[in-house]
Symmetry: D2
Subunit: 80 residues, 4 copies
């Protein structure tokens, strides 16, 4: 469900509440540091919106595809 | 599965890996600040151990029962 | 340095890098859960932008002033 | 101030309160994922204790020295 918008990969995520949303953000932050590739993102209450793009190249790169894929895996893995 | 050990409520939690364990810890930290009641806890890789007790009273209080119950709810809720 | 923009309190925060920015976000998340009052916020790399407003009232309330003040105190406290 | 205890590097860290301690833990978690090398650690309120060792080798390795050094840098960097 990632969409290409303005040369960025974009996806919206909805959770039950703020703590669930922020725990997800923490996992994305850990992925970002692991890959040294960071998102642009917005949160309000239970909603997280993420935009992925490669700043140096001004476009979507393999790094973004990889990070998008690993973020999606967070949602289908074991529950927490 | 909380046990009473040395006048503390104790439970061990196992996760798939470190990021999943730390996301759980983040949720527990948010609960702790919400209730202004904080755990003693240990983590190594995918294992989190939590001890709950009420320092001021030197024993397990209702606050500990409440926090234990809300921590358990994290594990049975929607996945993340 | 909070400004009123579109009936919201707004402030931009700049840090050394992503980990420093995300540690700040974690502290704001803990404050938000403590007060049960949550921000609208955006992060990209070392920049965090926060908008505070009271959704139910459609305007800035005392809750927002309080949260803004406590967020500012994070920046002037002991270093981490 | 890291000490060698039982073939582990050990250091205790004291903070003003729980949120400050947990923000530090979040930074250590980000370092750990970046390096794919994780601590054994304990927290209660404002105190964090960390033990670093290399499980596969049953001793302190260069990875531990490196992580200890980067953790120390968190404490001397710009404040948050």
């Amino acid at each position: 469900m990632w969409q290409q918008i303005d040369n960025k990969l974009y996806r919206e995520f909805l959770f039950a509440d703020f703590p669930e949303a922020f725990a997800f953000m923490t996992r994305v932050a850990l992925l970002a540091e692991k890959h040294q590739h960071h998102p642009q993102w917005t949160n309000v209450w239970n909603k997280v919106e993420i935009w992925l793009y490669t700043h140096d190249e001004g476009r979507i790169s393999e790094k973004d595809e990889q990070l998008a894929s690993e973020i999606d895996q967070l949602l289908t893995g074991q529950s927490k």
